[in-house]
Amino acid sequence: MGSLQLKSIRKAYGSHEVLKGIDLEVKDGEFVIFVGPSGCGKSTLLRTIAGLEDATSGSVQIDGVEVGHVAPAKRGIAMVFQSYALYPHLTVKDNMGLGLKQAGKPKAEIEDKVGKAASMLSLDPYLARRPAELSGGQRQRVAIGRAIVREPKLFLFDEPLSNLDAALRVNTRLEIARLHRSLKATMIYVTHDQVEAMTLADKIVVLNAGQIEQIGSPMDLYNRPANVFVAGFIGSPQMNFIDGARLGDKNAKTIGIRPEHLGLSRESGDWKGKVVHVEHLGADTIVYLESEQVGLITVRLFGEHRYAPDDIVYATPMVGSMHRFGADDRVLA
Protein backbone atom coordinates (compact mmCIF):
# COMPACT_ATOMS: atom_id res chain seq x y z
CA MET A 1 0.00 0.00 0.00
CA GLY A 2 1.30 3.42 -0.80
CA SER A 3 -0.37 5.46 -3.47
CA LEU A 4 -0.22 9.21 -3.70
CA GLN A 5 -2.49 11.76 -5.32
CA LEU A 6 -1.62 15.41 -5.67
CA LYS A 7 -4.33 17.75 -6.83
CA SER A 8 -3.50 21.28 -8.00
CA ILE A 9 -0.85 21.86 -5.36
CA ARG A 10 0.16 25.49 -5.13
CA LYS A 11 2.81 26.96 -2.90
CA ALA A 12 3.68 30.62 -2.62
CA TYR A 13 6.10 32.51 -0.43
CA GLY A 14 4.52 35.94 -0.31
CA SER A 15 3.88 36.88 -3.92
CA HIS A 16 6.49 34.46 -5.23
CA GLU A 17 4.85 31.31 -6.51
CA VAL A 18 7.10 28.24 -6.24
CA LEU A 19 4.58 25.57 -7.23
CA LYS A 20 1.96 26.55 -9.77
CA GLY A 21 -0.64 23.82 -9.61
CA ILE A 22 0.82 20.33 -9.56
CA ASP A 23 -1.37 17.34 -10.40
CA LEU A 24 0.18 13.96 -10.04
CA GLU A 25 -0.80 10.38 -9.40
CA VAL A 26 1.64 7.81 -8.07
CA LYS A 27 0.57 4.18 -8.00
CA ASP A 28 1.48 1.68 -5.32
CA GLY A 29 5.01 0.36 -5.72
CA GLU A 30 6.10 2.90 -8.30
CA PHE A 31 9.50 4.56 -8.33
CA VAL A 32 8.86 8.16 -9.31
CA ILE A 33 11.60 10.70 -9.79
CA PHE A 34 11.20 14.45 -9.77
CA VAL A 35 13.85 16.01 -11.88
CA GLY A 36 14.49 19.57 -12.94
CA PRO A 37 16.97 22.42 -12.72
CA SER A 38 17.71 24.03 -9.34
CA GLY A 39 14.92 26.23 -8.11
CA CYS A 40 12.24 24.43 -10.12
CA GLY A 41 10.34 23.52 -6.95
CA LYS A 42 11.06 19.80 -6.86
CA SER A 43 12.33 19.80 -3.27
CA THR A 44 9.48 22.02 -2.17
CA LEU A 45 7.05 19.57 -3.72
CA LEU A 46 8.70 16.68 -1.85
CA ARG A 47 8.56 18.62 1.40
CA THR A 48 4.91 19.35 0.80
CA ILE A 49 4.24 15.63 0.39
CA ALA A 50 6.19 15.00 3.61
CA GLY A 51 4.23 17.66 5.45
CA LEU A 52 7.30 19.73 6.26
CA GLU A 53 5.82 22.55 4.21
CA ASP A 54 2.15 23.40 3.95
CA ALA A 55 0.76 23.82 0.49
CA THR A 56 -0.89 27.20 -0.06
CA SER A 57 -3.74 25.34 -1.74
CA GLY A 58 -4.47 21.94 -3.19
CA SER A 59 -4.74 18.50 -1.70
CA VAL A 60 -2.32 15.71 -0.87
CA GLN A 61 -3.75 12.21 -0.48
CA ILE A 62 -1.83 9.17 0.64
CA ASP A 63 -3.72 5.93 0.05
CA GLY A 64 -6.81 7.97 -0.67
CA VAL A 65 -6.69 9.74 2.69
CA GLU A 66 -6.36 13.51 2.75
CA VAL A 67 -3.21 14.31 4.77
CA GLY A 68 -3.10 18.08 4.39
CA HIS A 69 -3.43 18.60 8.14
CA VAL A 70 -1.65 15.48 9.33
CA ALA A 71 1.73 15.80 11.06
CA PRO A 72 4.72 14.43 9.11
CA ALA A 73 5.23 11.57 11.58
CA LYS A 74 1.63 10.42 11.14
CA ARG A 75 1.63 10.36 7.35
CA GLY A 76 3.31 6.97 7.06
CA ILE A 77 6.29 8.37 5.21
CA ALA A 78 10.03 8.22 5.66
CA MET A 79 12.52 10.63 4.22
CA VAL A 80 16.19 10.45 3.34
CA PHE A 81 17.97 13.78 3.19
CA GLN A 82 20.86 15.02 1.11
CA SER A 83 22.83 15.94 4.23
CA TYR A 84 22.00 12.56 5.87
CA ALA A 85 20.56 14.45 8.87
CA LEU A 86 21.59 11.80 11.37
CA TYR A 87 21.24 12.60 15.05
CA PRO A 88 24.86 13.29 16.03
CA HIS A 89 24.51 12.27 19.67
CA LEU A 90 22.85 8.90 19.03
CA THR A 91 24.43 5.63 17.91
CA VAL A 92 23.57 4.11 14.55
CA LYS A 93 21.16 1.75 16.27
CA ASP A 94 19.37 4.55 18.15
CA ASN A 95 19.31 6.69 15.03
CA MET A 96 17.46 3.96 13.20
CA GLY A 97 15.18 3.11 16.10
CA LEU A 98 14.16 6.59 17.20
CA GLY A 99 11.08 6.81 14.99
CA LEU A 100 9.67 3.55 16.34
CA LYS A 101 10.58 4.50 19.88
CA GLN A 102 8.65 7.76 19.48
CA ALA A 103 5.70 5.76 18.16
CA GLY A 104 5.79 3.73 21.39
CA LYS A 105 6.67 0.38 19.85
CA PRO A 106 7.95 -2.37 22.21
CA LYS A 107 11.71 -2.70 22.57
CA ALA A 108 11.94 -6.20 21.14
CA GLU A 109 10.14 -5.15 17.97
CA ILE A 110 12.42 -2.15 17.50
CA GLU A 111 15.47 -4.34 18.04
CA ASP A 112 14.20 -6.82 15.50
CA LYS A 113 13.42 -4.27 12.80
CA VAL A 114 16.66 -2.35 13.28
CA GLY A 115 18.56 -5.65 13.06
CA LYS A 116 16.83 -6.58 9.81
CA ALA A 117 17.41 -3.20 8.22
CA ALA A 118 21.03 -3.20 9.34
CA SER A 119 21.74 -6.57 7.79
CA MET A 120 19.94 -5.54 4.61
CA LEU A 121 22.35 -2.59 4.33
CA SER A 122 25.36 -4.42 5.79
CA LEU A 123 25.55 -2.02 8.70
CA ASP A 124 25.79 -4.66 11.44
CA PRO A 125 29.39 -3.89 12.45
CA TYR A 126 28.59 -0.21 12.96
CA LEU A 127 25.46 -0.35 15.11
CA ALA A 128 27.23 0.93 18.22
CA ARG A 129 29.03 3.79 16.48
CA ARG A 130 28.05 7.41 16.28
CA PRO A 131 27.58 9.14 12.92
CA ALA A 132 30.86 11.04 13.34
CA GLU A 133 32.72 7.73 13.19
CA LEU A 134 31.25 6.71 9.84
CA SER A 135 32.20 7.53 6.26
CA GLY A 136 29.85 9.44 3.96
CA GLY A 137 28.54 6.33 2.25
CA GLN A 138 27.94 4.59 5.57
CA ARG A 139 26.09 7.62 6.90
CA GLN A 140 23.80 7.67 3.91
CA ARG A 141 23.16 3.94 4.37
CA VAL A 142 22.21 4.62 7.99
CA ALA A 143 19.83 7.32 6.81
CA ILE A 144 18.28 4.86 4.36
CA GLY A 145 18.12 2.27 7.14
CA ARG A 146 16.32 4.76 9.36
CA ALA A 147 13.73 5.09 6.61
CA ILE A 148 13.35 1.32 6.06
CA VAL A 149 12.83 0.63 9.76
CA ARG A 150 9.68 2.74 9.77
CA GLU A 151 8.12 0.55 7.05
CA PRO A 152 6.54 3.59 5.47
CA LYS A 153 3.89 3.71 2.77
CA LEU A 154 6.04 6.22 0.93
CA PHE A 155 9.78 6.61 0.79
CA LEU A 156 10.90 10.14 0.03
CA PHE A 157 14.46 10.77 -1.12
CA ASP A 158 15.74 14.33 -1.31
CA GLU A 159 18.86 14.22 -3.52
CA PRO A 160 20.32 11.41 -1.42
CA LEU A 161 23.42 10.89 -3.54
CA SER A 162 24.52 14.48 -4.11
CA ASN A 163 27.00 14.49 -1.25
CA LEU A 164 28.70 11.23 -2.23
CA ASP A 165 31.67 10.87 -4.54
CA ALA A 166 31.25 9.36 -7.97
CA ALA A 167 32.11 5.72 -7.17
CA LEU A 168 29.95 5.63 -4.03
CA ARG A 169 27.15 7.29 -5.93
CA VAL A 170 26.97 4.40 -8.38
CA ASN A 171 27.07 1.82 -5.57
CA THR A 172 24.40 3.54 -3.53
CA ARG A 173 22.28 3.98 -6.63
CA LEU A 174 22.40 0.23 -7.21
CA GLU A 175 21.57 -0.30 -3.55
CA ILE A 176 18.50 1.90 -3.80
CA ALA A 177 17.38 0.11 -6.96
CA ARG A 178 17.82 -3.23 -5.21
CA LEU A 179 15.87 -1.99 -2.18
CA HIS A 180 13.03 -0.88 -4.38
CA ARG A 181 12.83 -4.31 -5.93
CA SER A 182 12.98 -6.19 -2.64
CA LEU A 183 10.70 -3.92 -0.62
CA LYS A 184 8.25 -3.25 -3.46
CA ALA A 185 7.64 0.09 -1.79
CA THR A 186 6.50 3.31 -3.35
CA MET A 187 9.42 5.67 -3.68
CA ILE A 188 9.59 9.31 -4.61
CA TYR A 189 13.01 10.62 -5.37
CA VAL A 190 14.24 14.12 -6.11
CA THR A 191 17.39 14.73 -8.10
CA HIS A 192 18.88 17.13 -10.57
CA ASP A 193 21.02 14.36 -12.02
CA GLN A 194 19.39 12.94 -15.11
CA VAL A 195 21.50 9.78 -14.99
CA GLU A 196 19.98 8.91 -11.60
CA ALA A 197 16.57 9.72 -12.99
CA MET A 198 16.97 7.61 -16.12
CA THR A 199 18.46 4.61 -14.32
CA LEU A 200 16.17 4.39 -11.29
CA ALA A 201 12.77 5.63 -12.29
CA ASP A 202 9.65 3.84 -13.41
CA LYS A 203 8.24 7.27 -14.05
CA ILE A 204 10.00 10.60 -14.35
CA VAL A 205 8.31 13.89 -13.59
CA VAL A 206 10.14 16.78 -15.23
CA LEU A 207 9.56 20.03 -13.39
CA ASN A 208 10.41 23.52 -14.49
CA ALA A 209 9.55 26.81 -12.81
CA GLY A 210 6.97 25.23 -10.52
CA GLN A 211 5.14 23.35 -13.25
CA ILE A 212 5.17 19.81 -14.55
CA GLU A 213 6.57 19.80 -18.08
CA GLN A 214 6.07 16.12 -18.75
CA ILE A 215 5.45 12.82 -16.98
CA GLY A 216 6.55 9.56 -18.48
CA SER A 217 8.86 6.60 -18.43
CA PRO A 218 12.55 7.35 -19.02
CA MET A 219 12.37 6.10 -22.59
CA ASP A 220 9.18 8.05 -23.25
CA LEU A 221 10.91 11.23 -22.27
CA TYR A 222 13.95 10.39 -24.31
CA ASN A 223 12.11 9.33 -27.43
CA ARG A 224 9.06 11.53 -27.28
CA PRO A 225 9.80 14.76 -25.40
CA ALA A 226 6.65 16.86 -25.19
CA ASN A 227 8.39 20.18 -25.47
CA VAL A 228 11.68 21.94 -25.97
CA PHE A 229 12.46 22.05 -22.24
CA VAL A 230 12.18 18.31 -21.72
CA ALA A 231 14.01 17.62 -24.98
CA GLY A 232 16.89 19.78 -23.80
CA PHE A 233 16.88 18.52 -20.22
CA ILE A 234 16.89 14.79 -20.88
CA GLY A 235 19.89 13.37 -22.68
CA SER A 236 23.55 14.20 -22.51
CA PRO A 237 25.12 15.86 -24.37
CA GLN A 238 22.14 18.12 -24.85
CA MET A 239 19.93 17.85 -27.93
CA ASN A 240 20.84 20.15 -30.84
CA PHE A 241 18.21 22.77 -31.53
CA ILE A 242 18.08 24.17 -35.00
CA ASP A 243 15.95 27.04 -36.25
CA GLY A 244 13.16 25.49 -38.32
CA ALA A 245 13.44 28.19 -41.00
CA ARG A 246 17.05 27.26 -41.67
CA LEU A 247 15.96 23.79 -42.68
CA GLY A 248 13.08 25.11 -44.75
CA ASP A 249 10.40 23.83 -42.39
CA LYS A 250 7.58 26.35 -42.32
CA ASN A 251 5.55 24.79 -39.50
CA ALA A 252 8.26 24.07 -36.97
CA LYS A 253 9.89 26.91 -35.09
CA THR A 254 12.58 24.64 -33.69
CA ILE A 255 13.89 21.31 -34.83
CA GLY A 256 15.67 19.13 -32.32
CA ILE A 257 18.04 16.31 -33.00
CA ARG A 258 20.04 14.32 -30.49
CA PRO A 259 23.85 14.28 -30.93
CA GLU A 260 23.81 10.49 -31.10
CA HIS A 261 21.36 10.58 -34.02
CA LEU A 262 23.78 12.38 -36.30
CA GLY A 263 26.21 10.58 -38.55
CA LEU A 264 29.51 12.10 -39.61
CA SER A 265 31.42 11.65 -42.82
CA ARG A 266 34.44 13.30 -44.46
CA GLU A 267 33.12 12.86 -47.98
CA SER A 268 29.48 13.80 -48.22
CA GLY A 269 26.36 14.50 -46.19
CA ASP A 270 23.53 16.97 -45.55
CA TRP A 271 25.27 19.64 -43.51
CA LYS A 272 28.81 20.74 -44.22
CA GLY A 273 30.73 22.05 -41.25
CA LYS A 274 34.13 22.71 -39.73
CA VAL A 275 35.17 20.85 -36.56
CA VAL A 276 35.55 23.28 -33.64
CA HIS A 277 36.43 20.92 -30.82
CA VAL A 278 36.64 17.18 -30.20
CA GLU A 279 36.23 15.34 -26.89
CA HIS A 280 37.58 11.78 -26.77
CA LEU A 281 35.87 9.79 -24.04
CA GLY A 282 36.96 6.34 -25.11
CA ALA A 283 33.54 4.82 -25.59
CA ASP A 284 32.29 7.99 -27.26
CA THR A 285 33.77 10.77 -29.31
CA ILE A 286 31.99 14.08 -29.11
CA VAL A 287 32.52 16.41 -32.04
CA TYR A 288 31.44 20.03 -32.04
CA LEU A 289 31.11 21.53 -35.48
CA GLU A 290 30.21 24.88 -36.87
CA SER A 291 28.00 24.51 -39.89
CA GLU A 292 26.95 27.31 -42.23
CA GLN A 293 23.52 25.84 -42.65
CA VAL A 294 22.54 24.95 -39.07
CA GLY A 295 25.01 26.72 -36.78
CA LEU A 296 26.94 25.06 -33.94
CA ILE A 297 25.95 21.42 -33.48
CA THR A 298 27.16 18.54 -31.35
CA VAL A 299 27.66 15.06 -32.74
CA ARG A 300 28.13 12.02 -30.54
CA LEU A 301 29.90 9.13 -32.22
CA PHE A 302 30.30 5.73 -30.64
CA GLY A 303 33.85 4.46 -30.34
CA GLU A 304 37.05 6.27 -31.20
CA HIS A 305 37.27 8.55 -34.23
CA ARG A 306 40.19 10.58 -35.48
CA TYR A 307 38.71 13.99 -36.08
CA ALA A 308 40.67 17.12 -35.31
CA PRO A 309 39.72 20.80 -35.11
CA ASP A 310 39.48 22.56 -38.49
CA ASP A 311 38.63 19.32 -40.34
CA ILE A 312 35.84 19.75 -42.86
CA VAL A 313 33.10 17.14 -42.29
CA TYR A 314 29.51 16.44 -43.25
CA ALA A 315 26.80 15.62 -40.71
CA THR A 316 23.69 13.67 -41.64
CA PRO A 317 20.67 13.14 -39.37
CA MET A 318 19.27 9.63 -39.13
CA VAL A 319 15.90 9.09 -40.68
CA GLY A 320 13.02 9.77 -38.33
CA SER A 321 15.16 11.15 -35.55
CA MET A 322 14.05 14.78 -35.83
CA HIS A 323 11.84 16.32 -33.17
CA ARG A 324 9.73 19.20 -34.46
CA PHE A 325 8.53 21.88 -32.06
CA GLY A 326 5.98 24.57 -32.83
CA ALA A 327 5.91 28.24 -31.97
CA ASP A 328 4.65 27.46 -28.45
CA ASP A 329 7.70 25.18 -27.93
CA ARG A 330 5.45 22.14 -27.82
CA VAL A 331 6.07 19.14 -30.02
CA LEU A 332 4.21 19.02 -33.35
CA ALA A 333 2.23 15.90 -33.97
Binding site: F81, A85, L86, Y87, H89, E133
Partner: protein, 279 residues
Protein backbone atom coordinates in the same frame (compact mmCIF):
# COMPACT_ATOMS: atom_id res chain seq x y z
CA UNK B 1 61.63 28.02 3.35
CA UNK B 2 61.05 31.71 3.58
CA UNK B 3 57.43 31.00 4.17
CA UNK B 4 58.19 28.84 7.19
CA UNK B 5 60.44 31.53 8.64
CA UNK B 6 57.84 34.12 7.91
CA UNK B 7 55.13 32.14 9.70
CA UNK B 8 57.36 31.56 12.74
CA UNK B 9 57.94 35.29 12.89
CA UNK B 10 54.21 35.87 12.56
CA UNK B 11 53.13 33.35 15.20
CA UNK B 12 55.85 34.77 17.43
CA UNK B 13 54.40 38.22 17.03
CA UNK B 14 50.87 36.98 17.68
CA UNK B 15 52.01 35.18 20.79
CA UNK B 16 53.93 38.19 22.04
CA UNK B 17 50.80 40.29 21.68
CA UNK B 18 48.67 37.70 23.45
CA UNK B 19 51.18 37.30 26.27
CA UNK B 20 51.36 41.06 26.72
CA UNK B 21 47.58 41.24 26.88
CA UNK B 22 47.44 38.38 29.36
CA UNK B 23 49.99 40.10 31.61
CA UNK B 24 48.10 43.38 31.51
CA UNK B 25 44.79 41.65 32.33
CA UNK B 26 46.19 39.48 35.06
CA UNK B 27 48.27 42.17 36.75
CA UNK B 28 45.45 43.72 38.85
CA UNK B 29 44.26 40.26 39.84
CA UNK B 30 47.78 39.31 40.80
CA UNK B 31 48.22 42.53 42.77
CA UNK B 32 44.97 41.98 44.63
CA UNK B 33 45.93 38.44 45.41
CA UNK B 34 49.47 39.07 46.73
CA UNK B 35 48.43 42.07 48.79
CA UNK B 36 45.62 40.12 50.40
CA UNK B 37 48.34 38.06 52.12
CA UNK B 38 50.25 41.04 53.53
CA UNK B 39 49.83 43.15 56.62
CA UNK B 40 48.49 46.65 56.41
CA UNK B 41 51.83 48.45 56.51
CA UNK B 42 53.34 46.25 53.85
CA UNK B 43 50.41 46.92 51.54
CA UNK B 44 51.11 50.63 51.63
CA UNK B 45 54.89 50.56 51.89
CA UNK B 46 55.59 48.12 49.02
CA UNK B 47 52.37 47.31 47.14
CA UNK B 48 54.23 45.57 44.31
CA UNK B 49 56.31 43.16 46.35
CA UNK B 50 55.23 39.60 47.06
CA UNK B 51 54.61 38.66 50.68
CA UNK B 52 57.80 37.83 52.62
CA UNK B 53 57.91 35.97 55.94
CA UNK B 54 58.10 39.39 57.69
CA UNK B 55 55.10 40.89 55.88
CA UNK B 56 52.98 37.74 55.52
CA UNK B 57 49.68 38.00 57.32
CA UNK B 58 46.29 36.37 57.12
CA UNK B 59 44.58 39.18 59.01
CA UNK B 60 42.45 40.08 55.97
CA UNK B 61 41.07 36.58 55.59
CA UNK B 62 40.53 36.32 59.33
CA UNK B 63 38.50 39.51 59.30
CA UNK B 64 36.43 38.43 56.30
CA UNK B 65 35.75 34.91 57.51
CA UNK B 66 35.35 36.07 61.09
CA UNK B 67 32.63 38.42 59.99
CA UNK B 68 30.46 35.33 59.75
CA UNK B 69 28.05 36.62 57.15
CA UNK B 70 30.37 36.10 54.27
CA UNK B 71 29.22 32.53 53.74
CA UNK B 72 25.72 33.91 53.25
CA UNK B 73 26.98 36.58 50.85
CA UNK B 74 28.72 33.96 48.76
CA UNK B 75 25.66 31.79 48.78
CA UNK B 76 23.50 34.71 47.67
CA UNK B 77 25.85 35.64 44.84
CA UNK B 78 26.02 32.05 43.75
CA UNK B 79 22.25 31.50 43.77
CA UNK B 80 21.59 34.73 41.92
CA UNK B 81 24.25 34.07 39.28
CA UNK B 82 23.45 30.43 38.64
CA UNK B 83 19.68 30.85 38.54
CA UNK B 84 19.96 33.93 36.32
CA UNK B 85 22.26 32.14 33.88
CA UNK B 86 19.95 29.16 33.78
CA UNK B 87 16.93 31.35 33.05
CA UNK B 88 18.79 33.46 30.49
CA UNK B 89 19.95 30.35 28.65
CA UNK B 90 16.57 28.66 28.77
CA UNK B 91 14.44 31.61 27.69
CA UNK B 92 17.11 33.03 25.41
CA UNK B 93 17.46 29.74 23.57
CA UNK B 94 13.71 29.31 23.31
CA UNK B 95 13.21 32.79 21.90
CA UNK B 96 16.14 32.31 19.55
CA UNK B 97 14.67 29.01 18.35
CA UNK B 98 11.31 30.60 17.65
CA UNK B 99 12.91 33.52 15.83
CA UNK B 100 15.21 31.41 13.70
CA UNK B 101 12.97 28.42 13.08
CA UNK B 102 9.49 29.73 12.44
CA UNK B 103 8.26 32.14 9.83
CA UNK B 104 5.65 34.40 11.30
CA UNK B 105 4.46 37.93 10.85
CA UNK B 106 6.73 40.39 12.61
CA UNK B 107 9.57 37.92 13.01
CA UNK B 108 12.31 40.37 12.01
CA UNK B 109 10.73 43.19 14.00
CA UNK B 110 10.56 40.99 17.08
CA UNK B 111 14.19 40.02 16.64
CA UNK B 112 15.21 43.68 16.42
CA UNK B 113 13.08 44.59 19.41
CA UNK B 114 14.74 41.90 21.50
CA UNK B 115 18.19 42.98 20.31
CA UNK B 116 17.65 46.64 21.23
CA UNK B 117 18.22 45.64 24.83
CA UNK B 118 21.90 45.18 24.01
CA UNK B 119 22.21 48.87 23.25
CA UNK B 120 20.12 50.36 26.04
CA UNK B 121 21.56 49.88 29.51
CA UNK B 122 19.06 48.41 31.93
CA UNK B 123 20.23 50.80 34.65
CA UNK B 124 18.37 53.63 32.93
CA UNK B 125 15.23 51.95 34.20
CA UNK B 126 16.40 51.62 37.77
CA UNK B 127 13.77 53.91 39.28
CA UNK B 128 10.93 52.18 37.49
CA UNK B 129 12.36 48.78 38.37
CA UNK B 130 12.60 49.76 42.04
CA UNK B 131 9.03 51.04 42.01
CA UNK B 132 7.91 47.83 40.37
CA UNK B 133 9.73 45.68 42.89
CA UNK B 134 8.30 47.68 45.77
CA UNK B 135 4.80 47.26 44.34
CA UNK B 136 5.37 43.54 43.85
CA UNK B 137 6.76 43.22 47.35
CA UNK B 138 10.02 41.84 46.03
CA UNK B 139 12.45 44.32 47.56
CA UNK B 140 15.17 42.60 49.58
CA UNK B 141 14.63 39.25 47.93
CA UNK B 142 16.98 37.33 45.65
CA UNK B 143 14.04 36.92 43.27
CA UNK B 144 14.22 40.64 42.50
CA UNK B 145 17.85 40.35 41.50
CA UNK B 146 17.28 37.21 39.48
CA UNK B 147 14.44 38.83 37.55
CA UNK B 148 16.50 41.92 36.75
CA UNK B 149 19.58 39.97 35.71
CA UNK B 150 17.56 37.61 33.56
CA UNK B 151 16.09 40.60 31.75
CA UNK B 152 19.54 42.11 31.44
CA UNK B 153 21.10 38.98 29.98
CA UNK B 154 18.35 38.01 27.55
CA UNK B 155 18.98 40.41 24.65
CA UNK B 156 22.56 39.30 24.06
CA UNK B 157 21.59 35.66 24.57
CA UNK B 158 18.78 35.86 22.01
CA UNK B 159 21.03 37.68 19.57
CA UNK B 160 23.96 35.25 19.77
CA UNK B 161 21.89 32.08 20.02
CA UNK B 162 19.58 32.89 17.13
CA UNK B 163 22.62 33.39 14.89
CA UNK B 164 23.87 29.97 15.94
CA UNK B 165 20.49 28.29 15.61
CA UNK B 166 20.35 29.36 12.00
CA UNK B 167 23.42 27.21 11.37
CA UNK B 168 21.74 24.04 12.64
CA UNK B 169 20.75 21.97 9.63
CA UNK B 170 17.08 22.16 8.64
CA UNK B 171 17.29 18.59 7.43
CA UNK B 172 18.15 17.43 10.93
CA UNK B 173 15.11 19.13 12.45
CA UNK B 174 12.92 17.83 9.64
CA UNK B 175 14.26 14.31 10.16
CA UNK B 176 13.20 14.68 13.79
CA UNK B 177 9.73 15.84 12.74
CA UNK B 178 9.33 12.83 10.48
CA UNK B 179 10.49 10.54 13.29
CA UNK B 180 7.72 11.99 15.42
CA UNK B 181 9.65 14.28 17.75
CA UNK B 182 7.62 17.18 19.07
CA UNK B 183 8.88 20.72 18.57
CA UNK B 184 9.98 20.69 22.22
CA UNK B 185 11.96 17.48 21.75
CA UNK B 186 13.55 18.89 18.61
CA UNK B 187 14.55 21.95 20.60
CA UNK B 188 15.82 20.16 23.67
CA UNK B 189 17.21 16.97 22.16
CA UNK B 190 18.49 17.99 18.75
CA UNK B 191 19.16 21.71 18.69
CA UNK B 192 20.42 22.47 22.19
CA UNK B 193 23.17 19.83 22.20
CA UNK B 194 24.41 21.18 18.88
CA UNK B 195 24.68 24.78 20.04
CA UNK B 196 26.30 23.99 23.37
CA UNK B 197 29.44 25.96 22.52
CA UNK B 198 27.31 29.03 21.86
CA UNK B 199 25.41 28.47 25.11
CA UNK B 200 28.70 28.38 26.98
CA UNK B 201 29.78 31.64 25.35
CA UNK B 202 26.55 33.29 26.37
CA UNK B 203 26.85 31.88 29.88
CA UNK B 204 30.31 33.39 30.32
CA UNK B 205 29.25 36.76 28.96
CA UNK B 206 26.18 36.78 31.18
CA UNK B 207 27.83 35.50 34.32
CA UNK B 208 30.59 38.03 34.84
CA UNK B 209 28.54 41.24 34.92
CA UNK B 210 26.03 39.58 37.24
CA UNK B 211 28.64 38.35 39.67
CA UNK B 212 30.42 41.70 39.73
CA UNK B 213 27.34 43.89 39.90
CA UNK B 214 27.07 46.31 42.79
CA UNK B 215 24.28 48.56 41.55
CA UNK B 216 21.21 46.36 41.75
CA UNK B 217 22.09 44.55 45.00
CA UNK B 218 22.64 47.96 46.58
CA UNK B 219 19.29 49.27 45.40
CA UNK B 220 17.03 46.23 45.33
CA UNK B 221 18.41 43.92 48.00
CA UNK B 222 20.64 45.69 50.53
CA UNK B 223 19.30 43.71 53.50
CA UNK B 224 21.77 41.62 55.45
CA UNK B 225 20.16 38.34 54.41
CA UNK B 226 20.26 39.11 50.70
CA UNK B 227 23.63 40.85 50.34
CA UNK B 228 25.87 39.61 47.55
CA UNK B 229 29.64 39.33 47.82
CA UNK B 230 30.31 42.60 46.00
CA UNK B 231 27.92 44.44 48.26
CA UNK B 232 29.16 42.63 51.34
CA UNK B 233 32.75 43.72 50.66
CA UNK B 234 31.64 47.35 50.80
CA UNK B 235 31.37 47.27 54.59
CA UNK B 236 35.16 47.35 54.72
CA UNK B 237 35.31 50.48 52.60
CA UNK B 238 34.43 53.34 54.87
CA UNK B 239 34.19 57.04 54.22
CA UNK B 240 37.33 57.69 56.28
CA UNK B 241 38.99 54.36 56.94
CA UNK B 242 39.19 51.46 54.54
CA UNK B 243 40.18 48.04 55.78
CA UNK B 244 42.29 47.15 52.75
CA UNK B 245 43.31 43.75 54.11
CA UNK B 246 39.71 42.69 54.34
CA UNK B 247 38.70 44.23 51.00
CA UNK B 248 41.53 42.53 49.15
CA UNK B 249 40.87 39.21 50.89
CA UNK B 250 37.17 39.41 50.07
CA UNK B 251 37.90 40.20 46.43
CA UNK B 252 40.41 37.35 46.19
CA UNK B 253 37.83 34.97 47.58
CA UNK B 254 35.18 36.32 45.24
CA UNK B 255 37.29 35.40 42.22
CA UNK B 256 37.21 31.68 43.05
CA UNK B 257 33.58 30.72 42.43
CA UNK B 258 33.45 32.66 39.18
CA UNK B 259 36.64 30.91 38.12
CA UNK B 260 35.05 27.54 38.81
CA UNK B 261 31.97 28.42 36.75
CA UNK B 262 34.19 29.66 33.95
CA UNK B 263 36.16 26.42 33.88
CA UNK B 264 32.93 24.42 33.69
CA UNK B 265 31.61 26.47 30.78
CA UNK B 266 34.86 26.62 28.88
CA UNK B 267 35.02 22.83 28.87
CA UNK B 268 31.67 22.94 27.09
CA UNK B 269 33.06 25.53 24.72
CA UNK B 270 35.66 23.09 23.54
CA UNK B 271 33.53 19.97 23.54
CA UNK B 272 31.63 20.50 20.31
CA UNK B 273 29.84 17.41 19.13
CA UNK B 274 28.62 18.77 15.82
CA UNK B 275 31.32 16.94 13.88
CA UNK B 276 29.78 14.35 11.65
CA UNK B 277 26.16 15.39 12.09
CA UNK B 278 25.97 16.81 8.64
CA UNK B 279 28.53 16.94 5.92
Amino acid sequence: MSQARHSIFRTGFVHAALIAYTLISLFPVFLTFINSFKDRNAIFRAPLSVPTPQTFSLIGYQTVLGQGDFATYFQNSFIVTVVSIALVLLFGAMAAFALSEYRFRGNTLMGLYLAIGIMIPIRLGTVAILQGMVAANLVNTLTALILVYTAQGLPLAVFILSEFMRTVSDDLKNAGRIDGLSEYSIFFRLVLPLIRPAMATVAVFTMIPIWNDLWFPLILAPAEATKTVTLGSQIFIGQFVTNWNAVLAALSLAILPVLVLYVIFSRQLIRGITAGAVK
